[in-house]
């Protein structure tokens, strides 16, 4: 039965095809087809999860796709606990976002196209999760990148949106170059694309350590691009130009988590290649801090959430690098729900007030009770407040970090936890409390329709309870389910729990003091730490740095090559060939008009001349003819007689 799990991925693809070819004109039918497909996938994925829960071993189904003279390239399914968790996350969030989009995208001229793209994305993401080998995962990896590009640039009339789409595509492609190099290194060394066969040869030590390290780092480059880690993190904040449901689904819960999933999936390699794992941990740790620090001062509600996403992804990457398979995937799982909820809540707010700037909002709690309540629940969850799901996963991360011999990871992770609590509650207080700053917008604000608030409430429920499966006292909880070797149990650490809660609460209190009670003036702080504020506000000047060091030189090089190579050589050659052809044609034209036409015309005029001479003897007078006949007869007779 599990062999048919590919249907889960194929249903959304079917919906995409149906919408594109048949129901594109009819918005209602298109959205119904799309939602129907993802709901069916959700139900099927629940069946898969139930079956995996009953018997948590990895099962594989594959068939030969291409047979290259004995080298078989296969496609297949790998269904193990990690796949089951990812299926649940992707299907749940995707389904809720589909439903939410009906309300959010209402009245959009390209409503049907939006749903077809969502379906295509769901297909790609589910395929990515189910893939059992590197080649297959790479195909779906690129497909999610494509749909991400299409959806970021969905409102392509806005130049910023289409630019953001291009930026996302090109930036992630930079990482994917590393990914494909990594795949080539590892498959050349192991002779297979298949994950489990590869892992077996890694565990057996068949692959030289150097190759393994290089392969692991190159593979990680793909994850860096997709999960927006430093130094390729610049695309994700710009990707917020896409519609908000897209940000929630692709750029918060699922696609950006694909990088984390990739590292988790190839965990065996990182466990074997310690140096590569350390690189992973350091990059994740730095990204978590970098993004959290930028999120402190941004004013665009979606950008704050985007940086928060980068920061949380950094968390997961860091803990995976430290060997915390359970903690990393557990945080991926809980994060998907509360971050999707935050984005959808932000979308609901934007839908109501038509602005992204938090300083034009304020006091919205009174107008949008459901949105505000769910948003605050999600904020509490991401801040790691007991007993919400974020608390359990974040705590597990801190526990793993505390086991590492160098305390730097633990310190940074705790600091980032505090920063997270601060910037999330800065958003909450500024957006939902205080006096309305823009009376006109406030007056127009209204609670979103049910089709949007119900997904919010479902996600809020999940944001509270999803983490309970990983409560460390549970004997058969998340950690024993998902871990792919012997059950791994992190001892509950009360000191860490207390410390993290205190840090989170103090972050929240600081936000409360600064933005609600106003006992600490943000303006004074801004003036005092003017330089730091400027650096953070400008996102550490990464965009400017890349512009100056990479984009501009590339542009200059392109322009130079254009002027010298394209215009100077290629165009010259082409024009030369063209001119030579024109010359040849001229010669031939002369030959045609003078020699060929001359011959034909000459023949004609000779004939005409002869005719006009000879017609003189045709007088039309019978007597002349008779005379000629008679004279001829006489001549014949004379000739005969002589």
């Amino acid at each position: 039965m599990l062999a048919n799990a590919w249907i889960i991925a194929l249903l959304p693809l079917l919906a995409f095809v149906i919408i594109v070819f048949f129901t594109n004109r009819n918005k209602k039918v298109s959205s119904a087809v799309s939602i129907g497909a993802i709901c069916s996938s959700f139900v099927l994925s629940l069946i898969v999860i139930a079956s995996v829960l009953k018997n948590p071993v990895a099962r594989e189904f594959e068939f030969t796709w291409i047979d290259l003279l004995g080298f078989k390239i296969k496609m297949g399914l790998l269904i193990d606990p990690l796949t089951a968790v990812m299926l649940f996350v992707v299907c749940t969030v995707s389904m809720l976002v589909h439903i939410y989009s009906v309300g959010y995208m209402e009245g959009d001229p390209r409503f049907s196209r939006f749903f077809s793209f969502l379906s295509l994305f769901s297909f790609s993401m589910l395929g990515l999760v189910l893939a059992n080998n590197f080649l297959e995962i790479f195909v779906f990896w690129e497909l999610v990148g494509l749909t991400s590009y299409l959806l970021i640039g969905f409102w392509f009339e806005k130049k910023v949106a289409s630019d953001a789409g291009k930026k996302a595509f090109i930036t992630t492609r930079t990482g994917d170059l590393g990914f494909i190099v990594g795949i080539l290194i590892l498959t050349t060394a192991a002779g297979t694309f298949n994950f489990r066969e590869l892992f077996h040869s890694v565990e057996a030590g068949h692959i030289p350590f150097g190759l393994l390290t290089a392969g692991a780092i190159f593979i990680f480059a793909g994850a860096v691009g997709k999960s927006a880690q430093f130094p390729l993190h610049v695309w994700l904040p710009d990707a917020m130009e896409g519609p908000t449901p897209v940000s929630a689904l692709i750029h918060a819960a699922t696609m950006v988590a694909a990088g984390v999933y990739l590292v988790a999936r190839t965990m065996t390699i990182y466990l074997a290649a310690e140096n590569a794992a350390l690189v992973v941990a350091i990059i994740g740790c730095f990204t978590a801090f970098l993004a959290a620090s930028i999120a402190l001062v941004q004013n665009d509600i979606k950008r704050v959430l985007a940086y928060s996403t980068i920061s949380q992804l950094g968390y997961m990457i860091m803990v995976l690098g430290l060997g915390g398979f359970t903690a990393g995937t557990f945080h991926l799982y809980t994060h998907a729900f509360f971050k999707a909820l935050l984005f959808l809540g932000a979308g609901s707010v934007i839908h109501a007030v038509h602005t992204n700037d938090i300083w034009e909002m304020g006091g919205l709690y009174r107008k949008m009770k459901i949105t505000a309540t769910t948003f605050i629940i999600a904020s509490l969850s991401i801040s790691g407040i007991f007993p919400l799901s974020g608390f359990w996963s974040k705590d597990e991360i801190l526990a793993v970090a505390s086991h590492f011999h160098n305390p730097i990871f633990l310190i940074v992770a705790t600091l980032v936890a505090g920063m997270t609590a601060f910037y999330m509650f800065r958003l909450c207080f500024v957006t939902f409390f205080g006096k309305p700053r823009d009376q006109e917008r406030f007056d127009h604000a209204h609670e979103s329709p049910k089709v949007m608030t119900v997904p919010l409430m479902v996600l809020a429920f999940l944001a509270v309870v999803a983490g309970w499966v990983g409560i460390p006292w549970l004997k058969h909880g998340y950690s024993s389910f998902v871990y792919h070797h012997e059950p791994h149990h992190v001892e509950p650490n009360f000191i860490l729990m207390i410390v993290s809660t205190v840090v989170a609460l103090s972050g929240i209190y600081l936000a409360y003091a600064m933005y609600y009670k106003k006992s600490i003036s943000p303006e004074k702080l801004k003036a005092k730490f003017g330089f730091i504020y400027k650096v953070l506000y400008n996102k550490w000047y990464f965009d400017e740095l890349y512009q100056a060091t990479i984009i501009n030189p590339l542009m200059k090089l392109s322009q130079f090559l254009f002027a010298r190579l394209d215009v100077g050589v290629v165009d010259w050659l082409v024009n030369g060939v063209g001119n030579f052809t024109v010359f040849l044609s001229d010669v031939k034209e002369w030959f045609d008009s003078h020699i060929v036409d001359g011959t034909v015309n000459g023949l004609a005029s000779v004939t005409r001349g002869m005719g006009s001479g000879l017609r003189r003897i045709q007088t039309g007078q019978l007597q002349n003819y008779a005379f000629v006949i008679f004279f001829g007869l006489v001549l014949i007779i004379l000739f005969k007689l002589s």
């Binding site: 017609r615 007088t619 039309g620 007078q621 019978l622 007597q623 008779a626 005379f627």
Partner: protein, 102 residues
């Protein structure tokens, strides 16, 4: 004694006059008359050969009778043509009848 050669000479002279008339007359009636002359030259030939070569049979004479009959019919057709020429060309001068060229 009048022999075969006398007849043949007369016939040749008559035929020559007829040919000359046909080729040179400008009057259509004159041409018709010249043709009649040529017919009669032929008739004399027929009768003369019949008398001197096969005196017992009257083949030549019978042929001559036929020719005279046909000539009468020919004359009616010829005169009808001349009448039409007269109507269409306002006269019977054959120089004007040159529509058979080009």
């Amino acid at each position: 004694m009048v022999g075969l050669s006398h007849y043949l000479t007369l016939s040749a002279i008559l035929f020559g006059i007829g040919i000359f008339g046909v080729l040179t007359r400008r009057n259509a009636i004159g041409i018709l008359m010249s043709i009649e002359l040529m017919f009669n030259a032929v008739n004399i030939n027929f009768v003369a050969f019949s008398k001197f070569v096969t005196p017992s049979e009257f083949v030549g004479q019978i042929f001559a009778i036929f020719v005279i009959t046909i000539a009468a019919a020919e004359a009616t057709v010829g005169l009808a043509i001349v009448l039409l020429i007269y109507r269409n060309f306002k006269g019977i001068n054959v120089d004007n009848v040159n529509i058979m060229k080009w």
